[in-house]
């Protein structure tokens, strides 16, 4: 039964890494600035999920604090970028 659990953890790893690759593609090709902000926010969330899966893989509670900090900093940075989009830029 531990083989099934190991396969599931590896599968979740692969899925989250694939999702991060998709978000990076959208971050690079995104036609407008709000696309890039949205992709960056999703990239923060995917890295938080990666920390959660790493915590399951290594059986360690330290990764919980790491995921918590990533979620907090991601929310603050996305908020700052949205404020910049609404106020700070002169469009054409």
């Amino acid at each position: 039964m531990s083989a099934l659990l190991g396969f599931a953890i590896l599968f979740a790893f692969g899925c989250v890494m694939l999702a991060m690759a998709f978000c990076t593609v959208r971050l690079l090709i995104g036609p407008s600035a709000q696309d890039r902000v949205l992709a960056l926010d999703t990239l923060w969330m995917c890295s938080m999920l990666l920390a959660i899966v790493l915590g399951i893989r290594h059986n360690s509670q330290v990764y919980f604090e790491m995921a918590m900090l990533i979620a907090l900093v991601g929310f603050a940075s996305t908020m700052a970028l949205v404020k910049f989009l609404m106020r700070g830029e002169i469009i054409e």
């Binding site: 099934l4 659990l5 709000q34 999920l49 399951i56 908020m79 989009l85």
Partner: protein, 128 residues
Amino acid sequence: MSELDAVPAWAALPIAFLLILGGIIVVVGALGLMRLPNFYQRIHGPAITITLGAGCLLIASMIFFTVLRSRPVIHELVITLFVLMTAPVVAMLIMRAAVYRDLRANKGESGVTEGGVYELPRQEKGDE
């Protein structure tokens, strides 16, 4: 992976199911973010990733640590609550910024209108 042998079968099955389901949901959300044609359609993809995918992975983590430590480990609920509270706020703010920028740039192909909500500077409208 000696720790994984300590997990009994009745707990390993739901943990594996939730991990696989959460991984698939995360990939589907990110695929929607990459593939959909319009920004206002693209913003719906990460919502699935943040709510359902994160929920599945966090519940799997809670079951795993509860079974392995033989005591209730529920502090992943803090992350779940925080993410569930902030995800709609972030989505709404990004959407407002996108509508505001589209209105400022006079791009009307998305069908956005002012609707008495957004106050645009008058001198930009007077140029046309």
